[in-house]
């Protein structure tokens, strides 16, 4: 499918992204990639944290956080591509009126401020729906807008801890085996995708009825909604799940095994007795089939440690890619445990376009994360690089909203457009 000529799923929808950091910006870029016109609302008065700090693209970029650095942040570019950008200082008295006028021509407002921030700025749902009765208003507070912990400060790893996810990450239930940390901002992405689902559902409802609504996504609750199995084991049996490493309740072998190379590993999972036989033959160890310790899944589970050690003597002599080929040819699940470099080079992930090239006016060619789903006819695309600060002020204020040039100039001088 040719991304240049394909139509877009969300053509005609306009979304205002008040978000910073991860969750709201990620939700908004996913919608923008799929065709919505997303306007990121920023301000020089308080830059998105991902614009701050010394850029990784070069040690010699002039200026610092008040200089050129904010335009050279590839992670920011990834999370804000496909959007237009305007600068409005929402704390300025004249900003509220300006943004309300913009809301009148928009379909969705999304933010991930702490509870109360948008309300105090005069930009809460009740204020904005008076401007646009069918508005979809999406908030992504960490713990929600009510409850005793509504005002806690968090980042994604804190939410993973609160939600019970971190508590399941480790090699066993022993204290020294506990890990608890995921390198990825798991709960930010979970919140972002839930925001996309809820926004689209609300837009469908609006299409059918003309009715808008407010959507509150507590990122903590969105994360717990993925843990029904763990909740039910406690509710049904009083059992408090503990980390189990890479073991699986019924599949043995099931784990990440060390391969030839530096920190090289391969994931192997055997789901049935047929696959176990195929595995032993493919590994050129048919004698494992005759070993009573491994006679069936029950025996293999009892002798898991011995089995894993034996498997490692085999995997150790091959690269992870070799093991994948050998086992997949025999119909057994195996994949290299990939790091970013492996993923960047892997032929399958390249074919799947998990990284996309994008041209940024300051940085030049960049590799950014791709689009997490493939729609055959409306695939979406990176529509434009992330906006420079205030890049689209002219388009939004003059063309879209029809403000006279003198008025725009006055708002700039007053510090509302800043």
């Amino acid at each position: 499918m040719n991304g240049q000529t394909a139509p877009d799923a969300l053509t005609g929808y306009r979304i205002l992204d008040f978000g910073t950091a991860f969750a709201s910006p990620m939700a908004a870029h996913l919608l923008a990639d799929m065709g919505a016109e997303v306007i990121k609302i920023e301000s020089q008065a308080r830059l998105d944290g991902l614009r701050l700090g010394r850029p990784i693209v070069g040690e010699d970029i002039a200026g610092g956080d008040r200089g050129e650095w904010p335009e050279y942040q590839p992670v920011f570019h990834g999370l804000n591509r496909s959007k237009l950008g305007i600068t409005v200082n929402i704390k300025h008295p004249e900003a509220v009126d300006l943004l309300k006028r913009l809301v009148r021509v928009s379909d969705v407002v999304i933010n991930n401020f702490s509870p109360g921030v948008m309300d105090r700025a005069g930009l809460g749902y009740d204020a904005l729906r008076r401007e646009r009765p069918d508005l979809i208003y999406v908030s992504l507070p960490a713990a929600g807008e009510s409850g005793p912990l509504r005002d806690i400060v968090t980042y994604a790893p804190v939410i993973a801890a609160l939600a019970g996810i971190s508590g399941l990450v480790g090699y066993s239930s022993e204290r020294e085996d506990f890990v608890g940390t995921l390198q990825a901002a798991f709960c930010d992405a979970v919140g972002a995708m839930h925001a996309v689902v809820a926004t689209l559902a609300a837009l469908r409802h609006r299409q059918a009825t003309g009715e808008g609504q407010a959507i509150e996504i507590a990122q903590w609750e969105a994360a717990v909604s993925m843990l029904g199995e763990g909740v039910l084991d406690y509710v049904m049996n009083g059992r408090v799940m503990a980390p189990v490493g890479n073991t699986h309740p019924t599949m043995v072998p099931h784990g990440n095994y060390r391969c030839a190379g530096d920190d090289a590993w391969v994931a192997i999972a055997v789901r049935s007795e047929d696959e176990w036989r195929a595995f032993c033959r493919a590994a050129s160890h048919p004698e494992w089939l005759d070993d009573p310790r491994f006679a069936d899944a029950y025996q293999r589970r009892r002798h898991r440690t011995a089995l894993d050690a034996l498997i490692t003597t085999w995997t150790n002599r091959h690269t992870a890619d070799e093991i994948r080929e050998i086992l997949q040819a025999a119909g057994v699940a195996a994949m290299p445990v990939m790091n970013l470099e492996d993923q960047f080079r892997d032929p399958h992930l390249r074919a799947r376009e998990i990284h996309l090239e994008s041209e940024h006016p300051k940085v030049g060619l960049e590799f950014l994360h791709g689009i997490p789903w493939r729609l055959s006819d409306t695939p979406g695309r990176i529509r434009r690089p992330a906006p420079l600060l205030g890049e689209h002020n002219q388009y939004v204020f003059a063309e879209l909203m029809g403000l006279p040039e003198t008025e725009i100039q006055r708002l700039v001088e007053a510090g509302a457009i800043y």
Binding site: Y171, E221, L227, V235, N237, N339
Partner: protein
Amino acid sequence: MNAGALRTLRVIDYSTSIAAAAAGKMLADLGAEVLKVEPPRTGDPARYHGPFPDDTPDPERSGLFLYLNANKRGITLDPEPPTGGNLLHCLLAEADVFLHNRPPAEAAAMRLEDSRLRDQHPHLIVAAVTPYGSSGPYANDRGVDLTACAAGGVSIGTGFRERPPLTLPLSLGAHFASIATAAAVLLATFARDATGYGQFVDVSETDVQAILLAGYGIPTYIYRGVTGIRAGRHMNLGLYPNAVFECHDGFICIDAPQLAQWNRLLEVMGNPAWVQDPRYRDRRQITEQYPHEVDGLMAPWLMAHGKAEVFDETQAQRIPTGPVNTMQDVVNDAHLRARQFFTTIEREDTGPLTVPGAPYRLSKTPWAIRRPAPRLGEHNEEIYAGRFGVSREELLFLWQTGVI
């Protein structure tokens, strides 16, 4: 009760995986009419997964199945015999979405490839969520959650550096992909509004992780060669402290990158003498070179406290921290209880079961549990007789011969 935002969307959920079933659940919980199609006699594999009440196995009381299939109606069908195939096409003619989890070769062998289905039903959105996606060199490779987390780039970053990488717990990779699947299906409905045509929605459990979890870090690999490897309880990048720390009764996550947050944390800890040492000023350097050394300096204060105390004292100073909660802590959490987050699913044969509630709160069309998960074949008569005029005698025959 409100009918839900997606009340006009009709979904056939022909799935045997957590990722696809959970995507169907998300749509059903928002009001879509989702019909779960299970293999005759055995039913969905999730019926054998558990947890079971009192650890008593029973395919009608598997927690995973009950959780993932609430709000769905359920029928049994084997689409391979011609009569089964005809019935499937009767269902598809009335549906908006066909959701399944078959890799392309398997789908083709079952005559369920998207091109065939959409030739016959041009309006239909066909969605497949598979371990590696429906195109590319590994499309037909065997896969489970473990292997998708491996290729997705999450495992390599999880665990201790000298020990094996860890996969995501509790099939979270599949749950993660399910959200993308629900989103992608809804996106396709917007395209269909404009064109009248359905399309193929291809979601890969690997891709979703590789893009939204590992992928935004690709610039750090390109520019700094950072490949995202694991660092135990610490993050491998960023400003210390960003890790999980031990207290006397458990663990607490502390993530305080801003200088003001770090200074407030030092104050809460009583401004220990070591903070004067220049070695502990460059917090990026601490993360990358000697986090364990500073862990040791923080340990006396942390081990003198419980995780709830550390949480209260630090949050009072607006420092981002959170206790590492167990499932028991989560179910009994006062905040989640005050928000009435948990909800109940109930069937005669299980009694009320507490389950996680709404991941999002829509003011006009709330997320809601409207019906419990179906018993195996519970709605065969309603669907086959009620909609397609199959007689009771024919239904019996189809059941006896394993078609339904």
